[in-house]
Each structure stands twice: as structure tokens, then as C-alpha cells.
Amino acid sequence: MSEVLVVVEATREFGVKKVTLEMLTLARSLGTPSAVVLGGPGAAEALSAKLGEYGAAKIYAAESAEIDGYLVAPKATVLAELVARVQPAAVLLASAQEGKEIAARLAVKLDNGILTDVVGLDADGTATQVVFAGSTIVKSKVTRGLPLVTVRPNSITPEPAAATPAVEQLTVSVPAADKLARVVNRVAEQKGSRPELTEASVVVSGGRGVGTADNFKLVEELADLLGGAVGASRAAVDSGYYPHQFQVGQTGKTVSPQLYIALGISGAIQHRAGMQTSKTIVAVNKDGEAPIFELADFGVVGDLFKVVPQTAEEIRKRR
């Protein structure tokens, strides 16, 4: 079976992200998965056990401080060389900022088609995408070159399949043309122990109805009780209640968790764009006519400052 390259998405502390496990699972239905680690020194060794657990038969490691010191261009060059050498059946990357950027450059280098935000991929290369605020399902295909796709997090259930990957170190030489955008600083921000928004199986979001930044503690409390991530509507972000990186919707993140709880969110189409493929949706809003109730599996018309504390209390009671 031919190789399927999976470009590993990991945290800077060498934690394999769930989307990587989803991609390895998907890759096994297309061929033999080979993980590609593009990052700082030590990355492949730190990641190999987890990658093997989900079926990576091989790991290609391109590790250097240099590859990490410039914005994505060196990674695309290494990947293009690898693709030319191993002629994989497909290349999968995460549909996140960097994954899309690497894929974009790879597409131009190889003059190859690209499909982004893919939620499913058949063995014949037919991809499924959900577009227009979750309203339309599209089947599409790369018609020039190999299937080069970015996979949206939370699309596939990761399934382990033990393998013992051999690690092959790739030679990295970064050409001058790839050194144009230099990363001069990386600032880590405290995130606590909450799961990442796009990968979380539970997301609790707050909107304008939350009222103040301080009141978001209520949203956080419920999220923590359910082991979920915290999201926010654009109205809440624009009002300064919560940081932009947690925005769900048209100009923010798209999430597709098992459970989405919307607190004080009216459900404008821009918000629905980011969450309506969630499996189960629950809404609390004082306005019974709010459009969010049109998609909620369970809705409570009421004051969130009464309903949410009672919800939290009841969850604690049941433990």
C-alpha cells in the first residue's frame, strides 16, 4: 500500500493534538500512514510513541531551530521535497492556521489542487466539506496532482492501531527564499487545563447576555464541570468580555463538539456558522424568540444568572 503523509500538529511542548490522531485514523483507510514531524529539535522522539499508537508506520523528522525560526515557508519546502521523493497517495494536514499555510505553499510548489476544512475523505480521493455556515454539504476532488487536504478537527473519531514507527531524519537546509518572514518572539499565554476549543468534545459559550467580563466566570465554571472548552460570541468578544481567540462563528473558530451550550447568545447567522454542526445543542436565553432556540435540542427560556448556577449545583449533586 502506498504511503499517506500526515503532517503532525502538536503543541510546542510536544503534545500530539487530537486532529493528528484523526488524520492518522483517516490515513489508514487510504494507505499506510507516515507521520511528518516539522519542528524544533527533539520533536520526533517526544511524539513517536503517541504517533505509533495510532498507526504511524514511519516518521519523517525534519527538526532544526532554523525550520522553526521562520514562518512556514521552510516547512513547505521540506514537505515538497519529501512528496517528490516518496510519491504518497495523499497528503493530510490540519485545517488550522499553520496547516493551511503549509498546504497553500505546497499547492503552489507542486501546482497541485488543495481542499481545506475536509470532514471526510474516501479512498478514491473524494472529500466531504461543509460550507456556507454549515448549510451545504459538498463532495469535491483534487483534479490535478495528489489529494492534498486539510482536515477539520473533530471530524473523525480517532482509533488506535499500534505500530512501531521507524524514524527517518530528513536533511534540512533552509534556502534564503524561505527566510523572509522571521519569527522574532513567541509568547505563550496561560491557558489552564481546558481543552482546545476546536478539539473539545464539550464547548460552553457565552454571548452578550453574559453582560460583563467578570460574569464569564459563570461560563468557565460550567465548562470546567463538563470538562469542556470556553467559547464566546462575536458580540461578547467585541464588548471585551472574552479574548478573540475563543470567538466561535463566521470570523472566529468553527467547532463541532458532541455538546455545545450557548449562554446568553441570540444565535445570529454569523454565530451559527461556527457551531451548527455540533451534535447536541443546548441554549439558555431570556428571549424566548431568540433564533438560537431554532437549532437547540434543549432550550431554557430564562435568566442565565439563575439557570446556570442551578445547573452547576445540580451537576455537582449528581457526582
Binding site: 503543541t11 510546542r12 514562518l71 515557508a73 492556521q97 499555510e101 498546504a103 497553500a104 499547492a107 503552489v108 510548489k109 501546482d111 489542487g113 488543495i114 481545506t116 476544512d117 460550507v131 456556507f132 455556515a133 448549510s135 451545504t136 454539504i137 459538498v138 463532495k139 476532488k141 483534479t143 490535478r144 496532482g145 527564499a177 523572509l180 518572514a181 522571521r182 519569527v183 522574532v184 509568547v187 499565554e189 491557558k191 463538563l226 478573540h244 470570523t251 468553527t254 447567522i269 454569523q270 456558522a273 451548527q276 447536541t280 439558555v284 437549532l295 437547540a296 432550550g299 431554557v300 427560556v301 430564562g302 439557570v307 448556577p309 442551578q310 445547573t311 445540580e314 451537576i315 449528581r318
Partner: protein, 259 residues
Amino acid sequence: MNIVVLVKQVPDSGADRNLRTDDNTVDRGSANNVINEMDEYAIEEALKIKEAHGGEVTILTMGPGQATESIRKALSMGPDKAVHVLDDALAGSCSVTTAKVLGAALGQLNADLVLCGAESTDGRVQVLPHMIAERLGVAALTGARKLTVDGGTLTIERQTEEGYEVVTAETPAVVSVWDTINEPRYPSFKGIMAAKKKPVQTLALGDLGVAPAEVGRAGATSAVLEHSKRPPRSSGTKVTDEGAGGTQLVEFLATEKFV
């Protein structure tokens, strides 16, 4: 500084949007077409840079004839002129071929800085800035929430999952921005009137040295095979809180095995 801002006309994301049943492309005919929202932030950023450092701001749009409306709207915010890449053969172009065409147009415009929105609200593909930079062999600073210009040095801050990165490059460069970077101005009445007289140059494929077979449906590197409407979600149970709303909510979560 010679700044070019990429502007795309898109169907209004606040209304129903559709793909055409005949060729699976975006239905622009029946939609209310507007400037891609994120591009307004790029225009604002360009105008701020021009105000601080001098120079010229040019709008570059690839799109059908009706995109003229969005070009005039963009110009009413304050840019100096526009270039409209207009050719029937462009219909159905994929991102790879769009980058080829825009790259060819940019090759004639001699920009120090190309500004654009991080993504468009229709495709949300996010790949164009890096594709264009790769084609032109210039730096790409993408996903900026802040941009500073110091002579020929550009520095951005970009949000990442774990914090943020500070990235720097010399001009010429492509910079894409998110809606966190500024607050776009509204066109003034004077601006709207002035926009009507601003020069809009039209370029066809022949002017760019690109063959019709390389673009549009003929040259696309990917294809939509079929599309269907996702069944709309139906609303489930709705209760009014009369003192036990939270408890009822947890009962629902329990039946769904979330607690």
C-alpha cells in the same frame, strides 16, 4: 509606500447562500453581493499606513462585472485607484489559479505591501496570502492582529493556539489581517462622491500574459462534484424557567449521557 489591497466580492454571509445547480460554483446571481468583511480591515490598515507614511493605496479585485459595485464601495473608504481583473474565462477558478492570476496582476503593480483579509466569508479557505507570496517570492506575514511599519521593515503580531508570535519581514511583503486589527471607517458622503471619479483600470487575461486554458473551470486544480443542502436542525424541547430550569437542563444532559 505603494500599497495594494486585495478585495473580493462575496455573497452576504448574513443571508442564505447557495451553490449553483448547473456548475457547482457560488451562486452570485441571486445573492446580495458585498465586500468580504475582512477586506474592509485590510483597507483600513492600508489607509492608516498611508496617512502615517505617505504613498498610494490601490484596490485589486478579480471578479465578474458586478464586482464593480464593491470596488466603488472600497474606493469610497479612501483608496486612490483600483484595478479590476475581469475576464469571462476566469469563472470557476480554484485557489491555485486565482493566486496565479492575482500574482500576475501584482507583478505589474510594483507593490511594497500587499494587504488582504485573512480569509473570505464564502470559501473561508485562508490559503491565498501564502500562495501569492510563494508565487512572487516575497515574505508572507499572515493572520495579523497588529501591524507596525518602520521604514521598510514590517512587524506583525499573530494569534496562535498557545499565545502569539511576533514575525518580521522586509518589504515587499504580503500581510493578511484579522478583524481584531482595527475598526474600519465608514465611507463619508464626500468619499462616496469622490469614489465615482477615481480611476478603475480593467485588465483582461491577455494583459496579464495568462492563457484562458490555465484558469477558470478549464484550469482548475480541484472540482466540486456535487452538493446538497444539509437538512436544517429541528428545534427540540424548550422550557421556560420557573425555578427549576437548571435542574431540567441537567436532566436533559443526563439522558444524553453528558453528566
